[in-house]
Symmetry: C2
Subunit: 385 residues, 2 copies
């Protein structure tokens, strides 16, 4: 496979963008990435999105975005893998460039969620779960995660307060990210008093939805020369794997098999391992998912993920910084866009553009995007060089 480099990145703030339509948000991020890449056109456009049909009455989003940004004629397609749509689009684009079938590709993750009432969004998000065997029973997506968290606490003896450090770290980092939805710090006391959503998940365990878009331009690596001001960032590893969507069908409901398989593929391809990662943008849709992701990817033993947070290992100055720009928890979780925010943020870290939350001398970083509660997992390892 020919190696691919990320030439440009772009993003909008995650927010309630009531003044902008989905095509505009996607377009803003896309044009930002094209400008950053110094390109006016690309051959192909891959849009990651989950909910445009339900929320905006608009399918066919790839072509819509291509036209709106002035690239009429370019190949365009939409990729959907629930909340993993962003990274799934990136991986499809990666394979397109690697195959030689296209020379330049633009990937945009975009989602507009706040035009609907809360209960409508809850219904829309439930389409990531198994309609016949989970949603039919009346369980919501947060409800499914609450069942997992409750069982995890029981099985491994953790208290709810033990998860606070995940939320505190994410919010502390988001203070310095102008594109984050929730740019404020939270304390352990605030965490303990936050309103309950689905016990034991409270408001500070759960990521907020939002409207937003993030984008990247990728090209064959041989076309890019790095400079001291702007190092070349290449895709060192990519892996995707799945598990059953319905959690009750899993052999180990408390272990993310697909995250492990996906990370293993990315590790093997890159020749790097967990110890080589200078940061990890993981999929903290709920604080329990942070713990499970760390365990599946080899950073902690099963059941020991919260220990990393309690030891403050996950801060930008710690040995394994996570959610360095706020994560899903505080940057926000516009579902189909999230995977591309993660990739853009890893690029920012490798370029050294992250100010107070910059990870010192970051050379390699991992982004992991999850669809459903661990059902679809796509992992990318980016590195300088």
């Amino acid at each position: 496979m020919r190696q691919v480099a990320i030439l440009g990145i772009g993003q909008t703030k995650v927010d309630e963008h009531w003044d902008y339509s989905l095509r505009e948000l996607a377009g803003f991020a896309a044009l930002d990435a094209l400008q950053d890449a110094g390109l006016e056109r690309v051959d192909s456009i891959f849009v990651g999105n989950m909910l445009s049909g339900i929320v905006s009455g608009q399918h066919h989003l790839g072509t819509l975005v291509a036209d709106w940004i002035g690239l009429r004629g370019a190949e365009a397609v939409k990729i959907e893998a629930a909340c993993g749509s962003g990274a799934a689009a990136f991986r499809a684009a990666l394979m397109a460039v690697a195959s030689g079938e296209t020379e330049t590709a633009l990937v945009v993750g975009a989602e507009k969620m706040t035009d609907k009432a809360g209960h409508d969004v809850t219904s829309a998000l439930a389409t990531a779960a198994d309609a016949d065997y989970e949603v039919e029973q009346g369980v919501s997506f947060v409800g499914l995660n609450a069942l997992v968290m409750r069982r995890y606490m029981h099985e491994y003896g953790w208290q709810h307060a033990d998860f606070a450090a995940f939320s505190i770290n994410a919010h502390a980092n988001a203070v310095h990210n102008p594109n984050a939805r929730l740019q404020f710090a939270v304390s352990a006391k605030e965490y303990s008093k936050a309103g309950m959503v689905a016990s034991p998940i409270n408001l500070l365990d759960a990521s907020p939805i939002g409207d937003g878009a993030a984008a990247a331009v990728i090209v064959p690596a041989e076309r890019v020369t790095g400079t001291s001001l702007r190092p070349r960032v290449v895709v060192a590893g990519s892996g995707a794997a799945t598990d059953t969507i319905a959690i009750h069908s899993r052999r180990r409901p408390l272990f993310l098999d697909a995250a492990q398989a996906s990370a293993k593929r990315a590790y093997a391809q890159s020749g790097l391992g967990p110890a080589d990662m200078d940061l990890f943008e993981l999929h903290d849709a709920f604080s329990i998912m942070s713990a499970l992701s760390l365990e599946a990817c080899g950073f902690a033993e099963p059941g020991q993920g919260p220990r990393l947070a309690l030891d403050n290992a996950i801060s930008p100055k710690g040995p394994l910084p996570i959610c360095t720009r706020g994560g899903l928890k505080a940057r926000g979780h516009p579902v189909g866009a999230t995977g591309m925010y993660q990739i853009v943020e890893v690029v920012q870290q490798l370029r050294g553009e992250c100010g107070p939350t910059q990870v010192e001398a970051a050379k390699a970083g991992m982004a992991q995007n999850i669809g459903g509660s661990g059902a679809t997992v796509i992992t990318h390892i980016l590195k300088k060089g």
Copy 2:
């Protein structure tokens, strides 16, 4: 790009499958293709689908299908490009295998439409058009195509009866396809008396919706050896292009620029041209689209597409057979599945499995799948060898 071969194909009948869910239909076609390929597993699964979120309350379809057919763990993703979703999924899979990132891929086009009332399906299909600038005005998808047909007739001087031969050919061929939804012949008189849908488009100009799935297994060509009974079928060319979705924004509303660009790419890649095509499975969602596709792909001059039908050039015995298994018009148009039905049907022709509608000594065939009214066009050229 390394060459890719189609190792196995599968399909369900297009019908009102009220007894089967979307995952079952997709699974039947997928298992059929795996059996035909002689494989038990594949690395990656690409599902083409447009409406599962709206019609079945189910996103995340790639992973759902992977699990249901017993391939838990495999990479899986859904691709959406409105009615072009099937071929878009095939092209994504093609690039995945060509890149070397995956060795074996299963592509499934699947759609379930008949669980909803007719007006709900009409609304759902309208999400292929521009929500803000077309659908907001109250126009339906058939309405948009009716405007194009009306203008085409005015501009080039055709009568409605001149389009009858497209419908007659499609229905005549479907009689011999056990997987077609409408397995009956129609006459010119029946065409002229068919109920009006949106003038000038009547029931025999318009393809019927339906539930169905079609699938193919693809692998690197060097892994496949053809035999006299089962020739090797390779993907000789692939091209995708887009146009603006809103028809009123096009410079030439009566010419499919994206179809032309997409076909040109596939021709260039294959080293073949229109004269080399032994058959052409085109996207006859409405009879006007047959005419426009033939013109855009170099088989007729602009405005002269109906001439090929009137001259009976399009029958299985003619110089350019189209819709040899019934086309969208009579095999049926389960939107996100259609592109894969077309590819499966070209493979059947190249294998010589088409009975009374077999194109004699077919060596190369083209399949062209369209999203929207010419907004997204994906063309594949398959050949023996």
